[in-house]
């Protein structure tokens, strides 16, 4: 290992340091006494202790995890086959389908949230985590499908053709050849849907009413008062909100940093 890697290491270090300045601010504010607090300056855990002592942050965390994991599993399960069709299909129906994805994804959430709420109220799915999960699955569907398709494009169709010649059905070809080679794509899609569900507040704030159903992004809003905001508590919850996604990244990191499947497939 020559000087190259270490030079790049320093470069990387500089890039990361600059990039993370705003996140440093979040951490700084989370560990600083809030403006209205009596103590001033210095490091404190008071924001965290007060948030954990007085708010239902653990309940919000649990709700957020429930909704997010539900969204991730269902989205991937629905988007993977759809992405496969988008990647391989060349028919008019597929074009129509892709157009539909564009149209639905392009309409901003803010214009659809009220009619959606009214629709969900009729079928009794408002103020429930299930209703919210369904909305998230639908609103991440187009992107999730595209992401799966983008990845599956890199898997040569020749592999499935070989399987078909061996008598495999289309579905089996998809599951056995494409899906099992799509882990990085599946993980990217999973991470995307994870973050969509994890960070959304525009839909959640309208859909969730009961304090027992609040997710973290709704709960965090309790600290926004009419003309002031309790930033210490908001930042403390923000730090709590960072932990699960970061844990996911750390756990999954090795799966997308390896060289990938293309290399081994390219020779075939």
């Amino acid at each position: 290992m020559g000087a190259g890697p270490w030079l790049r290491f320093v470069l990387m270090l500089a890039i990361v340091a600059i990039t993370l300045v705003p996140i440093g601010v979040v951490l700084f504010l989370a560990f600083t006494p809030s403006a209205a607090s009596a103590s001033s300056g210095g490091f404190t855990m008071e924001n965290f202790s007060s948030v954990f002592a007085t708010s239902d942050v653990l309940l919000w965390l649990q709700n957020s995890l429930l909704v997010t994991l539900g969204t991730v599993f269902v989205s991937v399960a629905v988007a993977a086959p759809a992405g496969y069709v988008l990647s391989r299909g060349r028919s008019r129906a597929v074009s129509g389908y892709s157009l539909m994805l564009f149209v639905f994804q392009s309409l901003p959430v803010i214009t659809s949230v009220i009619p959606l709420f009214i629709l969900f109220a009729k079928i009794g799915l408002v103020d429930s985590l299930l209703g919210l999960t369904i909305v998230y699955v639908a609103s991440s569907m187009a992107v999730a499908t595209w992401m799966m398709a983008a990845y599956m494009d890199s898997i040569p169709i020749s592999l499935e053709e070989a399987a078909w010649i061996d008598g495999a059905s289309m579905f089996r070809g998809f599951v056995q050849i494409v899906l099992r080679n799509s882990l990085p794509g599946v993980l990217s899609t999973a991470i995307f849907t994870f973050l969509v569900a994890w960070n959304d507040y525009l839909v959640a704030i309208v859909f969730l009413r009961s304090a027992v159903a609040f997710t973290l992004p709704v709960g965090i809003q309790s600290f926004f008062q009419q003309n002031t905001t309790d930033w210490g508590s908001v930042m403390a919850i923000a730090v709590v909100m960072l932990i699960p996604p970061v844990a996911v990244f750390v756990l999954l990191n090795k799966y997308f940093s390896v060289g990938g499947i293309g290399g081994s497939l390219a020779g075939q």
Binding site: P22, L107, I110, S112, A142, D153, I220, V234
Partner: protein
Amino acid sequence: MFLLIAPSVALLLLIHGFPLLDAFRQSLHDGTLINTGSFVGIQNYTDNLTSEVFWKAASFTLVFTVVGVFGSWAVGLGLALLLRTRIPARGVFKVLLLLPWVVPIVVSSTAINWLVATSSSPIPQLFETLGLGQPLFLADPFWARILVCVFKVWISFPFMMMMSSAALASVDNSVYEAARVDGATGWQQLRWVTLPIVARSTYISWILMTIFCVNDFPTIFLLTGGGPIDATNSLVVLAYRLVFQNQQVGEGVSVAFIMTSVLVVISTLLYRQIRKAAH
């Protein structure tokens, strides 16, 4: 094949179909958030298309989107390429670089505000120390536009980095060895070897990012609210302000529809490119 997309189609129609029709109906009326109001035909559309505010917002949306898409793509691809090389603690860097995407925007926008808003904030202080004067990052229309775009790139590059990483994962290193034997420089390798291989994935990520940028409400709204005056007003922020603040629901929703139609056209054009780029 139909069975594979059936769940997705059913879900999309159920969740998006009704709101889409309902919103379209609203765009032809002059109602409030609750009541439909009376039918006004395409007047909301013509009002918007002849309004100066609309076109100003449209032009900022264009700038914001172009910078957002290509800025985040360039940064994301650059970092993805860098992360392919041997670097100590590569995995840690990779995780850290995904963080901007993870922080809730309501929180990161506050952090940015804290960094730049007043003359005693850190970044104006830094500029002052460096003898660069004290730019009003949020109060000056020029700087506010730049700041919003930089903020968008900051939020979006991790997504592009992830998309690029996944696509690059399928590039075989032996391709580069062959190119190097042929005497290709690093730039030539990127232009003629890497980019063509990841072309389809690149186009898809451009489409997605275009949609994200055009539809991006919180980034702008939380940082500048569309101001100062209307310097950073984008179409979706305009739609929001019309619908929820002015309660001019029909006009606001019609802005969203005009925006959506243009977006669909652009996406479709890009989608054609994808098909051309099929390997």
